[in-house]
């Protein structure tokens, strides 16, 4: 079976009564780098949080590698949250050990190499690092796992353009035909070249799921330009 993620009629409503994710049906294959795009409040983060088990669906079903979301699927999913989730008092090297201990698929060597490439001092405490550097550390931890599904919620928003390039290059170099990477972002033009496919969401609904080159072929414009058109305010 080559389908990695199978989402059918998935809904999530919050107590306020708003539908954050509204009847989404979607199948994601292995071996793709997919952009999850949509304006603020379109349900991107809610969808990601259901995929990694942080939120439970209100209705519908969600399978990863044919399994319901649970401990088995969490071992397959590497998640980069949209906020910091690490203990500020720990040193970078301690956090690396923590991840190594926690995830069987974590490669310490890969983490150390990336820290080194980005010039991050592993003996520094997290709280002494800048916001952007903390984000880099968090992304390095996630990308050092050999997961089947990477869920990256706004991975490049807070880092400088040079680090953005490095991060995107890292995603390409870690590319594995068995794994899929989902990147949620507003910075479409920065990631466009790296993506196979894009998912457009609006008000919790799936608007479009197609390949980047399809958009360029059919509309003669970049995904960024097309997004601006579809979501024009």
């Amino acid at each position: 079976m080559s389908e990695l993620v199978e989402i059918s009629n998935l809904c999530k409503s919050y107590q306020s009564g708003s539908m954050a994710v509204d009847n989404v049906t979607l199948t994601l294959p292995k071996g793709k780098i997919i952009g999850l795009l949509g304006p603020n409040g379109s349900g991107k983060t809610t969808l990601i949080k259901m995929l990694n088990g942080l939120l439970t669906p209100s209705a519908g079903s969600l399978l990863i590698n044919g399994m319901e979301v649970g401990p088995e699927t969490k071992a397959l999913v590497a998640y980069l949250p949209d906020r910091s989730c690490l203990a500020e008092n720990m040193k970078v090297s301690e956090i690396v050990s923590y991840f190594e201990d926690f995830y069987a698929d974590f490669s310490r060597e890969r983490a150390e190499q990336m820290l080194n490439n980005l010039g991050i001092d592993a003996s520094a405490k997290l709280k002494t690092l800048s916001k952007g550097t903390k984000e880099k550390v968090q992304l390095i931890l996630v990308m050092s796992r050999a997961a089947d599904l990477y869920l990256l919620d706004e991975p490049i928003a807070g880092v400088d353009p040079a680090a953005r390039d490095y991060i995107l290059r890292t995603i390409i170099q870690n590319y594995n035909p068995e794994a899929t990477v989902v990147i949620s972002t507003h910075l479409i033009s920065d990631v466009e070249q790296v993506l196979d496919e894009v998912i457009f969401m609006k008000y919790g609904k799936l608007v479009l799921y197609t390949s980047v080159d399809n958009i360029r072929e059919q509309h003669g414009k970049s995904v960024d330009a097309y997004f601006r058109e579809v979501f024009a305010c």
Partner: protein, 127 residues
Amino acid sequence: MAWELDSDRPIYAQLVERIQMQIVSGQYAPGERLPSVRELSAEAAVNPNTMQKAFAELERSGLIITQRTNGRTVTEDAEMIQKIRKDLASEHLELFFAKMMELGYTNEEIERLIHEFYVEKRGGTDK
């Protein structure tokens, strides 16, 4: 350094053009081994699947050949490479002439302009 790509045309088509250019200009010699998809997609900063698609297209046209043991190589068919080179040159000439006609030049005037340009700007000698 990432390759410069236009934002309004399919990425794979631009990768095909770029690699084609590198082959006809001799950056990759006939029979030379090409970098792997992974290496080249990292260099270009593009998706590996897109690079794969570009390679498949170049294979279909016969310009590159997949060897089971030795990765991908440029074709040894120098004639084919020359033909593609000539086709590309024709395309550029076509565009050039179209532009010059738009500016209102006749064929004779264009010919004279090319000659003047060749002598003055490029340091060529008069015939």
